[in-house]
Amino acid sequence: MIRTEEMLLNVGPQHPSTHGVFRLLIKIDGETIVEAIPICGYLHRGTEKLAEDLNYTQIIPYTDRMDYVSAMTTNYVLVHAVETMMGIEIPERAEYLRVIVMELQRIASHLVWFGTYLLDLGALSPFLYAFKEREKILQLFTELCGARLTYNYMRVGGVKWDIPDEGWLKRVKQFIDGFKKEWEGYHQFVTGNEIVQARLKGIGKYDAETAIKYSLSGVNLRCTGVKWDLRKNEPYSIYDRFDFEVPTATEGDCYSRYLLRMAEMEESRKIVEQALQQFPSGGEIMAKVPKIIKPPVGETYVRIESPRGEIGTYIYSKGRPNPYRLHFRRPSMINLQILPELLKGENIANMVTILGGIDIILGEVDC
């Protein structure tokens, strides 16, 4: 007679497959997870509190460190909020630069996810391919603004740096052309792989109703058939000028989330391609903004589509150079809430699959 008893297992915070310093306390019965208790806060820096003593330009570097895999979009969500409050019109050239870097960033972010996710599943080599391509994007960003990860690139009213030379746009074009072949290669090597399919299909499944109830956003929501992408549904910046699809799936499992992120890379590539074609040959990269940025009295809430979902900024301004209250709606944190629900009754081997499928960045969860 086999006797089983519940056991507590601590996963993380120092565990590679938690993608940061996320800690999970799981109760297991044999190999089955009975209960999972997420414990957050190991990376909590109090960004929102710190921001209350800083002026708006000084807050931008803090947003780099929030979602550090997609710093361009977090840069944008802050400056976009301030610009919305002040009614600043952004020069065309700056808008195009923003879109190009944000979409390249989306590709880079999904590449990190793709590489590390397969690493979680035990496949080493896709990681190398993915990071090789990502490094090319980071190289382009370094040429543009001098940093690999913490760009501090955007400013209220535009961007900090213009393209370093005319060749930069050509190099972006070169990259996205080459990337298409690489991307097709990923599908050949990975998507059809039997092990990958066996490990992903039907795992971490939920339906649209559950996804909405848990406030999921981004791919985690779209994998249940809800076609919602803020770039399409509430166009910000100049996204209404580009022709791209919002990929959705209906299965709601890890495999569909994998497919969607792959498809999104291709859509982002298309946007970059179009943006390069439309890129204005001259013009300003900064709107005329006051030296000391003081949004009018009142509050604002804006949201955009980051690679992880709906990221939002709330600002309550008293007309001073620093915000009275600044809040970020972080998709990583809110998407992660569903994890205990998904892990209940799962096999312990699927734990990392499900966690990785949500695609969290701990800098953003804890903020």
């Binding site: 509190k49 919305t84 002040m86 848990y214 009018p296 009295v297 709906e310 001073r320 944190m333 992660l336």
Partner: protein, 356 residues
Amino acid sequence: MADEKDLELEKAKAAAAAKAKAAAAAKAKAAALAKANGNAEQTAPQEESTAAQPQAVENAAPAEASSAAATGADDLADAKAKAIAAAKAKAAAAAAAKAKAMANAGGDESPAVDGDDAKAKAIAAAKAKAAAAAAAKAKAMANAGGDESPAADGDDAKAKAIAAAKAKAAAVAAAKAKAAGDAAAVESGAAPEAEKPSKNRPKLELIVKKITDRFGADVIEDSYINFLAKELPTVVIKKESWFEVARFLREEPELAFEYLSDLHGIDHETHMEVFYVLQSYRTGLVLSVRVKTERDGGELPSLTPIWSGANWQEREVYDLLGVRFTGHPDLRRMFLPDDWVGHPLRKDYVQYDEEV
């Protein structure tokens, strides 16, 4: 384009401010004497303008300066020199302020309607003074013509009544005259009388109507379009009925707010507030809801039974602001350790250990 205008305006203001200041200094003695037997109201404006003086020059927006009085000093490089000048002008400040108010009222509308707390205070004080003086009607009328401030938060019923009509006319004129950026500022003021058209107004009206039909008008404290947030419809709901209203918003088929997008708290120093953003995929509506509660020991109903996504966000509000959510399944600190003292996002938070 608005910015260029602003720059010019600011330059002009700077000149005006400098002039006004010089005049104030010159007038200092005489004015001080004249003011010595003035009314009690002076104390507040005196302090305001004193603090404001240095900023006024630096910032080239005299009236706006008083709003930033508290932070003004931080902004300056040459605060000291100006502070001395300000101190000198202190005695005359009240008189100068009056003169300035008259001089500026015509050209500088935006601060008057802006509705900022500090600003409002300054305005209120100035206005009270004006009202006191304006027992003499002719003067009052002359003042009110250019100055819409009484409409914003009239403490004096008479002055309000007189000024309201004028303010409205002035607001229209101002809105026309001013660039788009400033127009937004005008609207952001709490004064709802001049309603700007918005594509979201019918949506807000629908939501308000639905709530009033079901719960009566009492549950809604306020409703408006937030022009600073891409015309986001906003309602302020009383906390006693909030849970039922939230459930209604979720279940009413014509509203169907099935998605809780955001939830966070704000410490307003007088009270706590929790800000919700709701969204519906079916009806396409987006709504922000603000619910107020007490600052100390404030409680709100937990929305976790309605939207599971509220769970961690409420825990975060509890962790960082100390607002308790009744009925929450697991109200623990979200990020900070369980033995942490205090709630850091509160404005009165004192660090347990300054060194950390």
